[in-house]
């Protein structure tokens, strides 16, 4: 399951408290790598961490599974983590608050430029895959109602129930814009729940539509279908390492190690790696080590 220990009982305060504690006792030549609270982010974080360890020999501290985009952003701008993997479309819409744009190159260029001037953060070149939101339904439903695109879904939606994570419901490139673009109308307001639990809820028939991630291994494993975004509502979400410019300036070896990862992971490869973690339940550190050994010997 992609959901973690950071549940509502402990709340955001603990995350912030822990993060500041870590910031306070951070010392010496230590590279702190963060990640967001889902499998792919943890996996890429681990690949980045191991790559730095084996290429530079510097000690790496892992601060994984932080509570989402905004927590990571606050952590990196305040210097509590040195780098994490972010997605261009997420940075463009959720952090920089721009309206979604379609062209991947222009999104990347403006995100990289604005991050450098506004936050002193450097975007590496993308890993190569695009992890867009996947509006997913069960395969039998898709077959029965002939659903291939999100536009098709608009016909069936009035009888259906949706379940979405809190971040998707709040983001500007999330639920509100999606319903506006496609004229979607569900039987009831969507159920707000933990992102990791939405897959389970869909597979067990408790909801009929969810918003997952297109590179998630669970989509194929649970017999789900991702509908095509035929009106191109979602912006491109290319993953890349975002680092503090200061850190890269101090450790050029780290920048070189990260550069070797650029363009190395396709959509299909990312899906395979996620499935190894979420479906085959292999250890993330092992997956990362095997991948690095095969692709960057």
């Amino acid at each position: 399951m992609t959901a973690g220990w950071a549940d509502g009982r402990t709340g955001g305060w603990w995350l912030l408290a822990i993060a500041s504690l870590i910031g306070a006792c951070r010392h010496g030549d230590r590279i702190v790598v963060g990640s967001k609270n889902f499998t792919e982010s943890d996996l890429l974080g681990e690949i980045v961490a191991q790559q730095i360890e084996r290429r530079t020999g510097l000690p790496v501290e892992r601060r994984f599974h932080l509570g989402g985009t905004f927590v990571c952003h606050q952590a990196i701008t305040s210097g509590q983590i040195g780098m994490y993997v972010e997605y261009t479309g997420t940075a463009y819409t959720a952090v920089l608050k721009h309206a979604p744009v379609q062209d991947p190159d222009s999104v990347y260029r403006s995100v990289a430029a604005e991050y450098a001037t506004r936050f002193g953060l450097t975007w590496g070149k993308p890993f190569g895959f695009n992890n867009t939101f996947a509006i997913a339904v069960r395969r039998p439903d898709a077959a029965r109602y002939g659903l291939h695109t999100i536009s098709d879904l608009a016909r069936a939606a009035p009888r259906w129930h949706a379940g979405f994570g809190y971040e998707f419901l709040e983001r500007s490139d999330g639920f509100a814009g999606l319903t506006r673009t496609y004229g979607l109308r569900f039987a009831a307001p969507p159920t707000a729940m933990d992102l990791g639990l939405t897959y389970r809820a869909l597979a067990d028939g408790k909801v009929d539509v969810i918003a997952g991630n297109s590179t998630d291994g669970q989509i194929a494993a649970l017999g789900l279908v991702a509908l095509e975004d035929d009106r191109h509502y979602f912006p491109p979400y290319q993953a890349a390492v975002v680092s503090r410019a200061q850190l890269l300036g101090r450790y050029p070896a780290v920048a070189n190690a990260l550069a070797q990862l650029e363009g190395k992971i396709s959509d299909q490869e990312m899906r395979r790696l996620n499935a190894l973690a979420d479906v085959a339940h292999k250890d993330i550190a092992t997956i990362a080590r095997d991948w690095l050994r095969t692709n960057l010997p």
């Binding site: 509502g8 009982r9 509570g67 989402g68 809190y166 707000a192």
Partner: protein, 212 residues
């Protein structure tokens, strides 16, 4: 200041979530009492069951809530998404203090008093309802008090499974790092916990007095 403005703008929603929160706490605590008090009584009659039952209740407390929800979603009747699943989880978390305090409260009754009751020819049922429960009530109530106060905080996780409550603000706030939103959920939850504690404090004093 932001918080005041937030409440003013969303008063309808806040009251709705507050009501949801309170009813989740109330229902789950009542169910936990209906299960926990008889279970505690049974343990005083079957001492051999004590260690395994309390051990199990202990283990229940350590299951992470999201993992528990994951297990519950596919189950019929007690699972799915929404209030039922949340209540099942909350009951599981509330059981331990209630069972343990019921056991302790009854086991702590002076043996001489119990003997006197038996000497008067009381049946086991009479002994329980007329001697042991009234005398142990203070301790039992203390267990329910702990369960309720903890439950007010724990109920924020109901938002992870679509059951609403004040956790909705906390989850939304954490997702977008909005301190006002987090506080909008956390502050009334804290006040509710204090209120519940004070209410039980009053009840305990009243019943302890009547028991004398």
């Amino acid at each position: 200041m932001d918080l005041v403005r937030f409440y003013a703008r969303n008063s309808q929603e806040v009251l709705g979530l507050l009501g949801q929160h309170a009813s989740l706490v109330a229902i789950s605590t009542v169910v936990a009492m209906l299960v926990g008090v008889p279970l505690g009584v049974v343990l005083t009659r079957r001492p051999a069951w004590r260690a395994p039952v309390l051990g199990l209740a202990n283990v229940f407390q350590t299951i992470p809530s999201l993992a528990l929800f994951g297990f519950l979603i596919p189950l019929p009747f007690i699972g799915g998404i929404g209030a039922t699943t949340a209540i099942v989880a909350l009951v599981v978390y509330a059981l331990l203090p209630i069972v343990r305090n019921t056991y302790t409260g009854i086991a702590g009754v002076d043996p001489a008093v119990r003997e006197a009751g038996r000497g008067m020819g009381m049946t086991d049922w009479q002994l329980l309802t007329q001697v042991e429960l009234p005398l142990g009530l203070g301790v039992i109530l203390a267990g329910v008090r702990v369960a309720t106060v903890v439950s007010v905080g724990t109920t924020t996780i109901a938002a992870a499974i679509g059951a609403g409550g004040l956790g909705v603000y906390i989850f939304r706030g954490v997702a977008v790092v909005d301190d006002t939103l987090i506080l909008a959920g956390a502050l009334p939850a804290a006040l509710m916990a204090l209120a519940a504690d004070a209410l039980f404090g009053l009840a305990e004093r009243r019943f302890a007095w009547r028991g004398k």
